[in-house]
């Protein structure tokens, strides 16, 4: 259930951006979430739909989620491979000297606000 904690952070950030930009209402919020960031999209949206009612500026805002593919780099053979399919072990050479390049992201990409 850390999705709820994450949603509170998102709402706080979006509310701050709204104040900075002098807008009182937000139409939608787009997040970029890595494939292996540990966030369950459906839970996140459920939490959002509950929590947004507590903050007037995002009360009617839709939450959009864009997924960033998880890619791991192998230091041994210097090739990339998809993390979800192969995990920590490189499918090209079998080495475990690998690290995540993308897929752990947890970003607010943009928010949409009514046009002036």
């Amino acid at each position: 259930m850390h999705e709820l904690g994450v949603v509170f952070y998102v709402i706080k950030d979006v509310a701050n951006v709204a104040v900075e930009n002098k807008v009182s209402t937000v139409n939608s919020v787009t997040l970029e979430i890595g494939e292996v960031s540990g966030i369950v999209h459906d839970y996140l949206i459920d939490c959002w739909n509950w929590a947004r009612k507590k903050e007037p500026c995002v009360e009617n805002a839709e939450l959009k989620i864009e997924t960033i593919d998880a890619v791991t780099f192998c230091e041994n053979c210097e090739k990339n491979y998809p993390t979800v399919a192969y995990g920590k072990i490189c499918p090209h050479c079998g080495s475990d000297k690998t690290y995540l390049v993308t897929g752990n992201e947890f970003m607010i990409k943009e928010i949409a606000v009514p046009e002036d």
Partner: protein
């Protein structure tokens, strides 16, 4: 259809918490207080390990404990009944603590105990191997406890908590004869997640292996206090 403007944000969601955690860490360093975040699944023996640890540290350091749970005060009572300062935090359904909750809890510990200074404050995080790992509490050191009955595969299943922990306590080794827990496998799993973390096989209940853990911890506290 309503037309709308797009505002670029491009901000990491937990950026504020990370900044807040760094600030808390700096404040604690200036006050020479070592703040240790202890994570594990429910029932791994956090309270028993912490109790044994504070008893060992108390001859040298002033130690306080923060107990975080969704509900109840059983853990805090265990620590208080042993004669150590402790406060119970209720996370209100949340599965973890963040830096701001840490700061409030530390402030409260000082208020209720009327202590001027703590050398060591230990946070017993909510029992959960997933969520607490995501949120920086501002701790000087993160520690994870894995108990023998949970199985040797946990470092494979819960990467992040093992990646960020400097010490891995393998608890309940007195139960090894009745479980198929493979000590070699667990070491391999831990090493896959973190090349430098220290592993301490212990029984917090009967004290086996605990001396090595105390020694490591005291070295860490000393290094922290000496800047």
């Amino acid at each position: 259809m309503n037309r709308c403007d797009i505002l670029d944000v491009k901000k990491t969601i937990l950026e504020d918490n990370d900044a807040d955690a760094n600030l808390l860490r700096e404040n604690l360093r200036n006050k020479r207080t070592f703040y240790m975040n202890v994570m594990s699944s429910p029932g791994a023996g956090k309270t028993t390990t912490i109790l044994a640890t504070i008893k060992a540290l108390s001859s040298k350091y002033k130690v306080g404990v923060l107990q975080a749970d969704i509900d109840s005060d059983v853990d805090a009572l265990t620590i208080l009944n042993a004669g150590f300062p402790c406060i119970q935090l209720h996370t209100g359904g949340m599965c973890h603590l963040d830096a701001d909750m840490s700061r409030q809890a530390i402030k409260r510990l000082y208020e209720v105990s009327s202590e001027e200074h703590y050398d060591v404050i230990i946070l017993e995080n909510v029992g959960n191997l997933v969520c607490p790992a995501e949120f920086d509490t501002g701790a000087s050191m993160d520690v994870v406890i894995l108990s023998v009955p949970e199985g040797d595969d946990k470092p494979l299943k819960y990467p992040l908590v093992f990646e960020k922990s400097e010490a891995v306590i393998i608890n309940k080794i007195d139960a090894l004869p009745v479980f198929d827990f493979d000590m070699v496998k667990v070491h391999e799993g831990v090493r896959m997640r973190n090349q430098t973390s220290k592993v301490f096989p212990v029984s917090a209940l009967n004290g086996d292996g605990m001396d090595a853990w105390y020694e490591f911890l005291m070295t860490k506290v000393e290094a922290w206090q000496n800047g």
